[in-house]
Every structure is written in structure tokens, then in C-alpha cells.
């Protein structure tokens, strides 16, 4: 069994930080061909709120990747289950993640998108958990840094539940 534990970031904390990130991105990408690539499903809530705080034109697209352990059969290799609909060649891409921890998924995603010859690829994540990092990946825009906790809420799930919590909390298992 599991339960919602300590709240790490309130709705207000999140709103405030996303507003700052939106402003930062709006300045950095002024006059650029910006594409926001939202990684499904966890980053949906974050992406939607972030886009409301970006004051420059951009294209929003979605991508989804099969993660290890998500299917009954763990054999095989990672693959994109929903690809971007648009061509990113020559564009400036920001990958939007809910959380960057091991860096394994993101490392694959960056390698994959780089083969499509974008002008640039950067990473924006709501949460960064460097303590769990296996592959060192540079996070360009981060909402909050967290210790090695399993967290839920604001898009982050536990067995597909808790995504709709307006805050981010530690998941407690017992």
C-alpha cells in the first residue's frame, strides 16, 4: 500500500517557479524557431502551465517513449511509442520532462532527436533528481532539485495514479 506523504512543493511554489521558467525561456528563445517537445505523460501538466507563461511564438508537440518495466516483458529495447508530428530539422527544440533522474530515458531521447538535425536541443524539467543520475545530462531549465525521493503529483504518477494532485509530494509505501 502507499499513501501521500510530505508535500515538497505546493501549488503556489510550482506556479511561481513555472512563471520564472517561462520568462527565462521567452528571453532565451526570442527570434528563434522554438519547438516544445513534451514527453508524455508525466510532463503534460507542467508543459501546459509552462506554455501559458511563454510570451514568444512556439510549436507544441508530444513524444512518448516505452520505459523499462512498463510492459510485462522487459526484453528488447527502448522505442518511441508516439513520435513528434513535426519535422525538427533546423529548429530549436526544448524537451520538456516532468523529472530527470537516471538520465537513461532522456539520453536516448536526445540521441534520437539529434539524428534529425535540429539547430539545438535543450532540456527543461520540473524536477531534477541528480542523486539518481547514471548518465550525466545537462539540464538547462529546472524547476526544483530534489533528493532521492519517489514523488507524485502535478503529472507524476504512482501506477498511473496521483497525477492530478495540484502539489508535489513524497510517496510513502508501507
Amino acid at each position: 500500500m502507499e499513501k501521500i506523504g510530505k508535500i515538497l512543493f505546493t501549488k503556489e511554489d510550482i506556479e511561481k517557479r513555472i512563471k520564472e521558467l517561462g520568462e527565462e525561456i521567452s528571453i532565451d528563445y526570442k527570434d528563434k524557431d522554438l519547438i516544445l517537445a513534451c514527453v508524455l505523460k508525466g510532463a503534460v501538466y507542467f508543459t501546459v502551465d509552462l506554455t501559458r507563461n511563454i510570451k514568444i511564438p512556439f510549436i507544441l508537440d508530444f513524444i512518448s517513449i516505452l520505459s523499462y518495466g512498463s510492459s510485462k516483458n522487459n526484453q528488447g529495447i527502448v522505442r518511441i511509442t508516439k513520435d513528434l508530428d513535426i519535422n525538427i530539422m533546423g529548429k530549436d527544440v526544448i524537451i520538456i520532462e516532468d523529472i530527470v533522474d537516471t538520465g537513461l530515458t532522456l539520453s536516448y531521447l536526445i540521441r534520437n532527436l539529434q539524428t534529425r538535425n535540429p539547430n539545438s536541443i535543450k532540456v527543461c524539467t520540473l524536477l531534477d533528481c541528480p542523486g539518481r543520475r547514471i548518465i550525466d545530462i545537462e539540464v538547462d531549465y529546472k524547476g526544483f532539485e530534489i533528493p532521492n525521493y519517489y514523488v507524485i503529483g502535478y503529472g507524476l504518477d504512482y501506477k498511473e495514479k496521483y497525477r492530478n494532485l495540484p502539489y508535489i509530494a513524497i510517496l510513502e509505501e508501507f
Partner: protein
């Protein structure tokens, strides 16, 4: 010791391979058996060739006549064996040789393919066809070929396990293809190599289940890894003998990164932590990450791996 005596050639229409085979056959005093030669042999056996051809055309339309199918298979096998008795090396072009002699250790099965553009170009140059006509012909031949084999052998000629070698005609010159096939013929014996003989990568002997799971995760995310590839000396005696060393569990060459994993709790990890500290002092350029205890358990549980302590 069994030498290769039969080479079957399955080929896309418009791959220009027959002339190459003809040249090789002459060089090795071989015998080419194609549709025409098979029919000639059947005529000698008293078959009505017109009737036989009609039945073959029915196969291309998907009409199954079990009696004819058995006769067809039996006769092709008999003709091939007849020539093999004469000590010829046989080149069987088409006719389903890859199915009929699939498990015969004296046979070698080659599939010759080519991109559509190559095939069109070949046909337009060789037969002075228009590109449209060439394409139409290729589509027609591919379709009837597919139906022919499905009707005759209940299988597709596209099954890669039917062949020892697939050659993309557009990738090699005629001379290179000749050389490849000649090397096959010149092999002293026909044999299947064991994985050890081929130096295929062996599964490492992981120290525990969690390491194996970790390797699976890396493989899943297409991250190259090596298991315990390097041992770092840490202490030497006065004679220069290594008396203490450390071997990290994994090395990720693309990231020039070593990884050490352990489920030990931090309080019993003193020895390992000391070693890693020494390693960092002696080899400051080496990047190493340590995942241990609860942190490592959390990492594994993220990927659905639990209870393997």
C-alpha cells in the same frame, strides 16, 4: 567432412545475377540448373512439359494441386541429386531450392536482392523497356513469385532464416560477388560454427542478480556497457606486487564512466568506500559512480525490480 555441393540462388527479378553465376559455374566446372534445364530433364523422363508448365503457372495463381506439388518437389530433388552424383557442383537457380534442400549440410543458400531503382535500371538497359514497363513487370513477377512459393511450400521466400547469405546486388560489383561465392565454394567443408568458434560475445558471469538486471536496463536504453573490464591496482608491496585492487562493476564507454553497484548498507560499506576514495586519489581522471544500499534499491524499484536482494 562434407563439402558444399549445391548452391541455391534465390533472386529478385532484375538483379542481373545469372550471368555472374554462369561465370562462376564455368570456373568450377559446375552445372547450372534453372527452369529450362529442369524442364529438359523432365522431358527426358517422359513428362509432358506443356502440361507441367501449365501446372507451374497454376501455382503462381495460388491453385494448389497436392499431387502436382509432391511430383514437383520430388522431381527437382531427383534431378539435383542426379547431377550431384556426377560430382558436379550444382547451382540451382530458383525452383525453391532454399526450401527443398533447407537442412542439407551439403547445400548453401544465397538470396540476391536489389533496390527497386537498381532493378528498374537493369531492365530498362538490358531489355530496352520503358521505366513504367519495367516497374510493371517487376511488380507482376514479385507477386507471382510470392504466390508460387506460398502455394508450393506454405512459406514466404522472404524468410531470412532460409538463407546463409543475402547479397544486395547494388552494393557489390560482379567481381566482388564472384569472389564472395567462390570463397564459399572453396571452403574445405560445409559446417555450422559453434558460438565459441565464432567468438560471439559471451554473457558475463554477473556476481548477482541485481547486476544482471542493471545490465538489462542499460541494454534496453541502448547504452553500451562492459562488465568488469578493468581492474585498478590500489596498493603495491615493496617488490611491486599488487596487494590491493578494485574492479568496478560496469564501464560505459560512450560516457567514459565506471559504475559500482552494491546492495550493502552504508554501515558495512567502509571497505568499499575506502577503495573508491583510493581509486579517485590514484586515478583522478577516472569517472566513477557508486550506487548502494537504499539508494540503489530505489533505483531498481523505479524500473519495477524489487525483492532481489
Amino acid at each position: 567432412m562434407v563439402k558444399i555441393r549445391l548452391i541455391t540462388i534465390s533472386r529478385d527479378f532484375g538483379t542481373d545475377i545469372d550471368e555472374i553465376i554462369n561465370k562462376i559455374s564455368k570456373k568450377f566446372n559446375g552445372e547450372i540448373l534453372d527452369r529450362r534445364r529442369i524442364h529438359e530433364e523432365l522431358a527426358l523422363e517422359g513428362f509432358n512439359i506443356q502440361e507441367f508448365e501449365n501446372k507451374e503457372k497454376e501455382l503462381e495463381k495460388g491453385i494448389r494441386d497436392p499431387n502436382f506439388i509432391e511430383t514437383y518437389k520430388e522431381q527437382v530433388r531427383m534431378i539435383v541429386k542426379k547431377y550431384m552424383e556426377k560430382d558436379y557442383i550444382i547451382f540451382l537457380l530458383g525452383r525453391g531450392g532454399q526450401f527443398l534442400f533447407k537442412d542439407e549440410n551439403y547445400s548453401f543458400h544465397i538470396n540476391v536482392i536489389a533496390p527497386l531503382g537498381y532493378r528498374i535500371k537493369f531492365l530498362t538497359n538490358k531489355f530496352l523497356l520503358s521505366e513504367e514497363k519495367a516497374l510493371e513487370l517487376i511488380k507482376e513477377k514479385d507477386f507471382s513469385r510470392e504466390i508460387f512459393y506460398k502455394t508450393l511450400f506454405l512459406n514466404s521466400w522472404k524468410d531470412p532464416s532460409l538463407y546463409h547469405l543475402t547479397i544486395d546486388r547494388s552494393f557489390f560489383t560482379a567481381e566482388e560477388i564472384e569472389s564472395i561465392i567462390e570463397k564459399v565454394i572453396e571452403r574445405q567443408e560445409s559446417k555450422i560454427y559453434t558460438p565459441e568458434q565464432l567468438s560471439l560475445p559471451q554473457k558475463p558471469k554477473f556476481a548477482n542478480k541485481t547486476e544482471e538486471e542493471f545490465a538489462k536496463i542499460l541494454t534496453f536504453y541502448q547504452i553500451r556497457w562492459e562488465y568488469e573490464p578493468r581492474t585498478f591496482p590500489l596498493e603495491w608491496d615493496n617488490d611491486g606486487n599488487v596487494i590491493e585492487s578494485f574492479t568496478p562493476d560496469f564501464y560505459l564507454p560512450d560516457f567514459d564512466l565506471y559504475i559500482e553497484l552494491t546492495l550493502q548498507r552504508p554501515r558495512v560499506m567502509g571497505e568499499k568506500l575506502k577503495k573508491i576514495k583510493k581509486l579517485k586519489n590514484l586515478y583522478p581522471d577516472i569517472k566513477i559512480k557508486l550506487f548502494y544500499g537504499k539508494e540503489y534499491e530505489k533505483l531498481l524499484s523505479k524500473y519495477g525490480i524489487k525483492g532481489i536482494r
